[in-house]
Symmetry: C2
Subunit: 127 residues, 2 copies
């Protein structure tokens, strides 16, 4: 992935590390798995976050970048969705406005969207 013009990564992948399933620290474990999986990957900045306030739908992640729509996605597991998360992050990184066509989203990213928010400036600030 090519970094955006102001050197911001094309995608920041935020992973809630406080997500729990029962007593299990599923969020922290998903973060660790993604950290291993994304070693050497450029254009995607992985970042832990304490609570995305969607605690009923662990694990939760968010995709964000300057000038793009942001997405919060839930119902993800380390066992089933690491590759889907990487694919979704790459496609988000490649999308100038962050809007990935429905057909190009992994199934988990069609079903799991918790919310989305537009970029703060009406036009892409990097354009």
């Amino acid at each position: 992935m090519t970094p955006t013009r102001d050197s911001s990564p094309a995608a920041t992948l935020l992973v809630c590390v406080t997500c729990k399933s029962g007593e299990e620290q599923v969020g922290a474990r998903l973060f660790a798995a993604l950290e291993r999986r994304l070693t050497g990957e450029s254009g995607i900045a992985l970042r832990p976050v304490e609570c995305l306030s969607a605690c009923k739908r662990p694990c939760t992640i968010a995709l964000a970048a300057p000038g793009k729509w942001s997405y919060v996605v839930g119902d993800l597991t380390r066992e089933a969705h690491v590759e889907d998360i990487v694919i979704a992050a790459r496609r988000f990184a490649a999308a100038a406005d962050g809007l990935v066509p429905w057909r190009d989203r992994p199934i988990a990213f069609r079903k799991g969207v918790v919310s989305r928010t537009p970029p703060l400036s009406p036009t892409n600030r990097l354009a």
Copy 2:
């Protein structure tokens, strides 16, 4: 409210204008009511948005600003919550990082949070 240093508003209040309850255009009506209510209010930029992807919890709004946490909040109505939304937006505008203490949030903003996301830079970019 004092505008932030880079002239961005201290809060952008995004209102989903595609939110429906049955056939009723509840989102567009909430937006219209807020437009009237916020006339002359500085520091809060009101902006319509097409779908915050939290369609099961109309009406939905978001609060955002550069360098602050963003919040998506649902289960709001024009009939009950216009004043709560204005109060929440003012307190968000006044909070340097967007984090409003629990006790200072209107009840609807304690119960209705759909998600939150951190500012992209680890530190407040306006500081």
